[in-house]
Amino acid sequence: MPWDEGLVASLVYDRPDPSEGRILSYVQAINEALVLALEHDPSVFVMGQGVDDPSAMFGTTRGLQQRFGPARVFDTPLSEESMMGVAAGAAMNGMRPVYMHNRPDFVLLAANQLITHASKVHFMDNGQTTVPMVVWAAIGRGWGSGAQHSQSIQGILLGVPGLKIVMPSTPHDAKGLLLSAILDNNPVCVFEHRWLMRKDGIVPEGFYRVPLGRGICRRTGRDVTIVGASHAIELGMQAALLLAAEGIEAEVIDLRTIKPLDEGIILESLKKTGRIVAVDTAWMKGGVCAEIGCLAAEKGYADLKAPVARVGLPDIPAPAGYTLEQIYYPDAARIASAARALVRWDAAPAGPG
């Protein structure tokens, strides 16, 4: 049983409207994607520490081994680097591995194989070999996860050519993006967020794909753009509600994939609102927030009515204790306050905050 089960279970999300379609939990959506992928293509297999244990990777891999057998769904030794290389080697030879980790923190042990091998092979051998593999991990937050069990490592990986990075925010996307990732011919990291896992959503039956590299507008608004992915978008949507109550209309852009980055959707929204708040589950420095800020300065400069704001983690490791966590992590109010400051920028030229 994952230790943060109680915390995650206590999170409250709105129930989707059943008249809009079939409701599935986030975890069920991921499980369904894995089932479909395993059914669809005999070269797909699932590996990872504990994917066959009673906790079943937060429930996402439940029943898979019983259904598809221990050759295609298997537990691994605690050998992250080698197993990442094994996944790459299998992918280079006609398989489509899905290598699952509890936390992105553990992927760092395999950085050599992920960054220096899997992501480079196709380029290095002049396109002769493809490496279709998925590296899946769930970002932790809260309940003592602390500095070593809650890292969002997407910023570290953002500068790695050859790699794709997917960060869903809804059950619908968790399924559709995972299927796209598994069918993609490149190494794809799928970073889920523990706090989204109790979220329910409308999830179509059967096989569908959400395309990689394309964001989606979750809410339209004219005053300010809130852009990011994963759980940061959950907070961004809550922030938009707070802002709406004050008469500020925020547009919320869910990137879905942060590499490749959908620059078009960001710039288009910026053209409309002239203000941008970049949000992320990771550190603000050198990551998704920084990249969005740079994009706005580089290609959207003429549209900016106010400076770019970033709401992510400060340049500090995650603390483990409850009180410090509350201070450390941004919430919807913090995103709303950053957006508010941008909207009021003309009136208060001294700057946001």
């Binding site: 080698s82 197993m83 290389g85 094994v86 030879n93 006609g94 051998d125 002769q128 050519p161 050859g162």
Partner: protein, 341 residues
């Protein structure tokens, strides 16, 4: 002071393996080793001209391992290797022109000038991949073996690794996994006693590498790495085991590189190893030793050797000329293949 003595049987070591082998097979091994030696020497001779802007790791002195091993492999068997690629590439049947074009940074190099000497590849003959990160190819080869096992393909994967590669944690991890899943893989360790200029004794406690490997629950043998037939025989045994579904094997072959870790020429005089040590191993040069054995056995003579040398020299001259005339890549080439379609 000689730290690492040759402990094999020299020319006396061939007889026991040669019995029953067709002469054409034995002559083929000799030809392949001699060809690699001459290619390496020509690369070395021309290196200072700076047309090959790529770090080279010559296999002069280590020809017997690649050649003996590859003689036990079929075209569908896959070979992965480290930064020291020239021997495995050529022994597996890799195209010489494509290799020299790669070394000369030409568009038609075997990796389109994106790999260089450390990343030779020829998938057509099963030279499937290399890594210049020590240990990098070991789990990838293990993954290739997992794929072969999952797809129930009748193929074996071999990965070449150096003695220092056994110090990388990922190598232990990979041996463990290969043994756990009984994968069809052969870990072929060329123990040349040095990692760049660091001797084994400063890197590992006194022990034998094959014994370390055996602790991972797989057959691990020690062979005389200057003996091409020993390398062939050990690989053949390991391949048969893998193909029978009995799992991985480890081969430790004691060899010596006659040149510096990288680049042209020897660097023993810098003091990290004794020239007398190299000279001792040069007396059991794998190419000359086997040649002497074949002459003694009446399978080769001076005329035949001359003819062979001539033929090889011509092939090499042609291939170098071809490489030098080949086109350089263009800017458009740079942008290709970052992502697969």
């Amino acid at each position: 002071m000689i730290r690492y003595h040759y402990t094999g049987d020299g020319i006396g070591g061939f007889g026991r393996f040669a019995a029953g082998q067709p002469p054409a097979f034995l002559l083929g091994l000799h030809r392949s080793m001699l060809r690699i030696r001459r290619i390496e020497e020509e690369i070395e001779r021309r290196y200072h001209e700076d047309q090959m802007k790529t770090p080279i790791h010559l296999v002069i002195g280590q020809e017997a391992t690649s050649v003996g091993c590859c003689a036990a492999l079929g075209d569908t068997d896959l070979l992965y290797s480290s930064h020291r690629t020239h021997g495995t590439y050529l022994a597996k049947g890799g195209d010489l022109k494509a290799m020299l074009c790669e070394l000369h940074c030409r568009a038609n190099g075997c990796a389109g000038s994106r790999g260089g000497s450390m990343h030779l590849i020829d998938k057509g003959v099963g030279l499937a991949g290399t890594s210049a990160v020590v240990g990098g190819a070991v789990p990838i080869a293990t993954g290739a073996a997992l794929a072969a096992w999952m797809k129930q393909e009748d193929r074996v994967i071999v990965v070449f690794l150096g003695d220092a590669t056994t110090e990388e944690g990922v190598t232990s991890e990979s041996l463990n996994f290969a043994a756990l899943k009984r994968l069809p893989i052969v870990f072929f360790c060329e123990n040349n006693f040095y990692s760049v200029q660091s001797p084994l004794e400063t890197r590992q406690p006194p022990r034998e590498l094959h014994k370390w490997a055996a602790a991972h629950e797989m057959p691990a043998v020690l062979i005389d790495g200057v003996n091409v037939l020993a390398a062939f025989e050990a690989t053949r045994t390991a391949v048969a085991r893998a193909k029978a579904g009995e799992g991985p094997s480890f081969i430790e072959a004691r060899v010596y590189r006659f040149r510096a870790h990288a680049g042209a020429g020897d660097d023993s005089r810098t003091g990290y190893r004794d020239e007398a040590e190299r000279q001792q191993w040069e007396r059991v040069c794998p190419v000359r030793l086997f040649e002497a054995y074949l002459v003694e056995a009446g399978l080769l003579n001076a005329t035949a050797i001359d003819a062979l040398e001539h033929e090889i020299a011509e092939e090499i001259a042609d291939a170098f000329a071809y490489a030098l005339e080949s086109p350089n890549p263009t800017e458009a080439d740079l942008y290709r293949h970052v992502y697969a379609e």
